[in-house]
């Protein structure tokens, strides 16, 4: 457990402020005809109040499955294989379905990628807002509406009464996402998960939504788990960054650690791939394809695409090495005895 906690990012610097949520060795698999798909493999991280942890990775690397696992919203044939999801010391994976349901929306909330599809198109957003409130509190329709309007004003929406009585398609994408955020934060959750909250929005609206998220995150003191593949968003918003590849976190650290002292070749490749300035003016792409998750190659999953792969990279999965403070990486290149996370 000590080893695991350490790996989740608990170090001297932040030992005093206990994390709101700790995820330890979380594994989620899908049993399909092609075999067991290990979508999330032994993922560990911590979320701290008022802080933003960004999870970055390519499509299909397990970001969204990780997020849904925290809410225990994995549908068969998927299942959470093992691990702990500790919210204030309570393991969510041991709760009954009823207990878990009461936590959803109150302690952990989620904002989805596309605010068009995450609203039921046949009800007004107001009705869906009050429904969410009344699912958890014994309040009247009127009280729920008052609370809803108050929350809507907090996400910088104007003309609240009209927004409240609008159907989702009558609002713009940005407005819908603001309403979504308002609903998610209405019950003052300790953890807010935002699964690519700006992907479906255009760039000008994006920055507004991100600013809103950041401000509310600081204001309410909830921990924000931001799932994205947009490193620009990460740089703007995140306090800490976790890089995921093939279901594993390969590197985690503060936003400065990741952007200035990236250790993992994959992280570096990601960072160079967003930098368009190359001598011939083209983009730097990472060669190859992400691995087939039903058939992950032995050793480091990134080794087939890694420009710096050693022989042992293709044979043995790398262990985790602390670079500095809460910055650690899972790469043989960083191997050294004293950096090794004890007991691993």
């Amino acid at each position: 457990m000590v080893k695991n906690l350490k790996r989740s990012g608990l170090t001297k610097e932040n030992i005093n402020c206990a994390p709101v949520m700790e995820v330890v060795d979380l594994s989620t698999s899908f049993l399909t005809a092609a075999g067991e798909i290990k979508a999330v493999r032994e993922v560990s991280f911590s979320l701290f109040a008022g802080q933003v942890l960004a999870v970055v990775g390519e499509s299909g690397c397990g970001k969204s499955v990780t997020a849904r696992s925290l809410l225990r919203l994995i549908d068969p044939p998927g299942y959470i294989k093992n691990g702990w999801v500790l919210l204030n010391g309570v393991n969510l994976l041991n709760l009954t379905e009823g207990e878990m349901r009461r936590l959803r929306g109150t302690e952990i909330s989620m904002v989805f990628q596309d605010p068009m599809t995450s609203f039921d198109p046949v009800y007004t957003v107001g009705r869906q807002f009050t429904e969410a409130l009344m699912a958890h509190e014994k309040i009247s329709q009127q009280e729920a509406k008052q609370q809803a309007l108050q929350m809507l004003s907090k996400v910088s929406l104007q003309d609240l009464e009209r927004v409240f009585n609008s159907y989702p398609f009558q609002l713009s994408g940005g407005m819908r996402q603001r309403v979504m955020i308002a609903i998610a934060l209405a019950m003052k959750p300790k953890v807010l998960i935002a699964d690519e909250p700006t992907t479906a929005l255009d760039v000008t609206v994006q920055s507004g939504i991100l600013a809103e998220l950041k401000r509310l995150n600081k204001e309410t003191g909830s921990a924000l788990l931001l799932i994205t593949h947009d490193l620009g968003v990460v740089a703007e918003l995140a306090d800490r960054v976790a890089i995921m590849y093939a279901g594993r976190i390969v590197e985690i650290g503060s936003v400065y650690d990741i952007f200035d002292h990236a250790q993992h070749p994959y992280t570096r490749a990601l960072l160079t791939s967003i930098n368009p300035i190359q001598e011939d003016g083209g983009l730097t792409a990472i060669p190859g394809q992400p691995p087939d998750m039903a058939n992950v190659p032995p050793g480091c999953p990134f080794s087939p695409r890694c420009p710096e792969a050693l022989r042992q990279c293709r044979q043995k999965e790398p262990e985790q090495y602390i670079i500095a403070g809460e910055h650690w990486v899972s790469c043989w290149r960083a191997e050294s005895e004293e950096r090794k996370i004890s007991g691993a």
Partner: protein
């Protein structure tokens, strides 16, 4: 499209007229539907009796109105039973998925293997015939199609993101089914239910015709048919023809109406979301 519109409008007019006449039966006739007048048996249409009398001297027009009342209410009530049952069963099966779904659907397959008319006959012959019994028997033997359709819709609807969003907000599953999934199936449900009313009326008349439906002393379209079949050779054509025509026109009108509804609700195109938009537009123009 315009062909559909005319037929649909005519069907709805026919149905409305029938409903009004049947519900307000006492307003359209002063006679008693069960009143036997042995001095006036087998009278031709006209001559004081609009549509003639039967072998017991009962007024056909009066019996047609009251019989239509029974048949239509059996149709509507039994569809209500089968709709509630079918929607609940289908929604649960579709939402649960996995082996629960498989077991529930195989049960439906098994039930559909048995001819429903046969089950109705068996149950009816074991119980005392009454209006409630007919409603329940028809309701409980015709819910399977509805259930299958609702299940398929729910199967695809539950994968939509707003269901996940509702779950993530902590909405209880029953509420999601009742408030989000079933309303989205409403175009299907409405069309299926309308078609069902026609079928239920036919079932009721068949049962009554076989003497296992509505008790013989009560007028119903089926009862009138069986009563008429003995007299038709004696030349009293008016006894079976009018109830027969009423059955055909009702069922045809219902069928065309449900066809039209299907187009109006755009079942094949965009579904309920487009419907909401359209409805908002109409109500805005009206305002």
């Amino acid at each position: 499209m315009s062909k559909y519109k005319t037929v649909t409008v005519i069907s709805f007019i026919v149905l409305t007229v029938m409903a009004v006449m049947v519900i307000g039966a006492p307003l359209f006739t002063a006679k008693d539907p069960t009143g036997v007048e042995l001095t006036k048996t087998l009278r031709q249409p006209g001559q004081g009796n609009l549509l003639g009398t039967d072998e017991m001297g009962r007024d056909i027009w009066t019996r047609l109105l009251y019989g239509g009342r029974v048949s239509l209410s059996v149709g509507v009530a039994s569809v209500a039973v089968s709709t509630v049952l079918g929607v609940a069963y289908g929604a649960i099966s579709g939402y649960a998925g996995g082996w629960v779904d498989r077991v529930l659907m195989r049960i439906i397959d098994a039930l559909l293997c048995l001819p429903s008319m046969l089950i109705m006959l068996v149950i009816q012959s074991m119980t005392r015939p009454s209006l409630t019994n007919v409603v329940l028997v028809i309701g409980f033997t015709t819910w399977m199609q509805m259930s299958r359709l609702v299940r398929t819709e729910v199967l695809s609807l539950k994968e939509r993101e707003f269901v996940l969003a509702a779950l993530a907000a902590g909405t209880p599953v029953w509420k999601i089914i009742l408030r989000h999934l079933v309303p989205h199936c409403s175009p299907t449900i409405i069309v299926m239910a309308t078609v069902g009313v026609g079928h239920a009326i036919l079932s009721e008349t068949s049962l009554s015709f076989l003497g296992l439906g509505i008790p013989p002393h009560q007028p119903s379209l089926g009862n009138m048919l069986i009563g008429g079949q003995n007299q038709i050779l004696a030349g009293a054509w008016w006894i079976p023809v009018f109830p027969g025509a009423m059955i055909i026109s009702t069922v045809l009108a219902i069928t065309f109406a449900s066809d039209g509804l299907q187009h109006i609700l755009m079942l094949r195109n965009a579904g309920i979301e487009e419907g909401v938009k359209k409805w908002l537009k109409i109500s805005k123009e009206a305002a």
